[in-house]
Symmetry: C2
Subunit: 380 residues, 2 copies
Amino acid sequence: MEHPIKYTLLKKEKHTGARLGTLETPNGTYETPMFMPVGTQATVKAMTPEELKSIGAGIILSNTYHLWLRPGSDLIDEAGGLHGFMNWDQGILTDSGGYQVFSLADTREIKEDGVHFKSHLDGRNLFLSPEKSIQVQNELGADIMMSFDECPPFHESYDYMKKSVDRTTRWAERGLEAHQKWDKQGLFGIVQGGGYKDLRIQHARDLRSMDFSGYSIGGLSVGETHEEMFEVLDYTTPELPEDKTRYLMGVGTPKALIESVIRGVDIFDCVLPTRVARNGTLMTSQGRMRIKNAKYARDWRPVDEKCDCYTCKNYSRAYMRHLFKTDEILGHRLASTHNLRFLIRLMEQVREAIRNDNLLEFKEQFYEDYGYNEPNALTY
Amino acid sequence: MEHPIKYTLLKKEKHTGARLGTLETPNGTYETPMFMPVGTQATVKAMTPEELKSIGAGIILSNTYHLWLRPGSDLIDEAGGLHGFMNWDQGILTDSGGYQVFSLADTREIKEDGVHFKSHLDGRNLFLSPEKSIQVQNELGADIMMSFDECPPFHESYDYMKKSVDRTTRWAERGLEAHQKWDKQGLFGIVQGGGYKDLRIQHARDLRSMDFSGYSIGGLSVGETHEEMFEVLDYTTPELPEDKTRYLMGVGTPKALIESVIRGVDIFDCVLPTRVARNGTLMTSQGRMRIKNAKYARDWRPVDEKCDCYTCKNYSRAYMRHLFKTDEILGHRLASTHNLRFLIRLMEQVREAIRNDNLLEFKEQFYEDYGYNEPNALTY
């Protein structure tokens, strides 16, 4: 079978093995490592498609669970899929809905055939299965779809995790069968297994034996420490095929991005940059900035003097603070633009460092500037 | 004294006397009749300066009272005035603060020297006088400032209104004296007098005898009927000089704009288009559209098929409805863009109709399409 999603490994960084590559989709080819902005409800919060392009966004992520519930995937299908509905002509990736079923929905019951649960919006009874998830994702029409998985808590018991992983493997097989649009949409398998090395390795091998278009690493960034996450990556990514994309789901702190690239990951998504933006937290080359802080009241410098985004080229910290103190929508817009550009640009710098075989030097300087080396540094 | 604000009457419409003109400011020259978007807190809600330019906005309005309280006019002065602070290089008009003192502030006491009141934000005691209003506006640095006035309710008693109007005249004289930046900022007098013909005429004549850069008509759009408002304009505008701009404050329904232009008004401002936009009400050539209505769920047409705005060129009613049902910021943005463009374009059409001496025909067709001729039509 010909996959509509192709990964080409261009180069490995000399000292770390970090991968530089290209990810080809029916709607554009993108350089990796890459950060993907999240547009949960068919819109990256506060941003237009044109603005996303202007900050260098490539593929964006949207959420199967949310869109299935509202406005409905059949409606989006009628609009020509997500691309037509939201006017985005670049790549789109949809998750499987599994994560939201386990984190948002009420009174869920997991069975072999799928998951019964109640909608978090209106309490109605719903059922999501591997086949249903794929059907919904076929209607949404994203370039990259995810296999339906269970995402248990990281520290779930070994026995439970083993049973869950085996079921997720069976669900993966059913999803592959159900997928109807191989000409236009790729399908990724999701490796689970919590922090259990043997389960992660077994699951990676099981999924690798199936013909997925790429591989996701799930069940991370769900409350475990950075160290636990990096350890999982250390033994998981070597089990994944070199000629397919590796996607670490839900990761978006600068440190986690850099460390994961070093461990062989290609693509990432996270709500972090837009979520903290709306709360007035800006990511800068000098670390996090809480823009509502009184010290910025008469600070006429841009948010980040090293940033090339629209916000930093046109507005002062003092104006940004004013917008947040008065709860103006423009503040959310300018902060979201900045934070997304910050992470996208970080990945541009990471790619450049892979090309130049100086990723570790880049990392060292970045951590120093960002404040990660300070005692009690926050991790985001 | 040379005014930095100049009005040039280009033409009067043959059948109505509606004025086509240009309004020259230190930051651009604009055709009138013109609608000015409102940027209360140094931002037109949800919009960037570039977007405002792209929909044809010329002068925007900002609020003295709000900015004086937060972030402070001294801070904005330090930023290079409002133009520098909010990154807007076109015209800006500031109101006097009077209206907000009377509509927002608590426990106000009006005396000859000014108004004592409590801040609506934190309850602290404040005092606004003609001199203070002008000082604050000099710091804000708008191209056009307003004289400090009292804005009594439309149906206030004759005796109270007469005393108030006389005091507003004395305040106007004091404001003219206090103004320090005649090279960069014009100052408009504000005609009050409620619905009392003799008071309106007397006040217009009193203010006309002073050397203002233009004249505002205040105390309207505060709860009176459209008919009462139009009647006031009928006897007030003839008292204003032909060679200066006439500004009707707070007016922004299509009907009120057209009828007021017919009665000799040049410029307008109103929060209506952006306020109703955020509530999901869209102004279209076919009338008001409540986009959350279920009938738009699968309506793939643009909001207004006759509109040339970004929203209408790129998104469907179904997508707009989805954005409002999910309370997404992009919905507020796209609706604000559309409604502002609708009123700005309406004024472009009105100017064209003045040029062609067919304003009444234009009005008739517009009213028919918009639904104003239907029984029980809403006025906005």
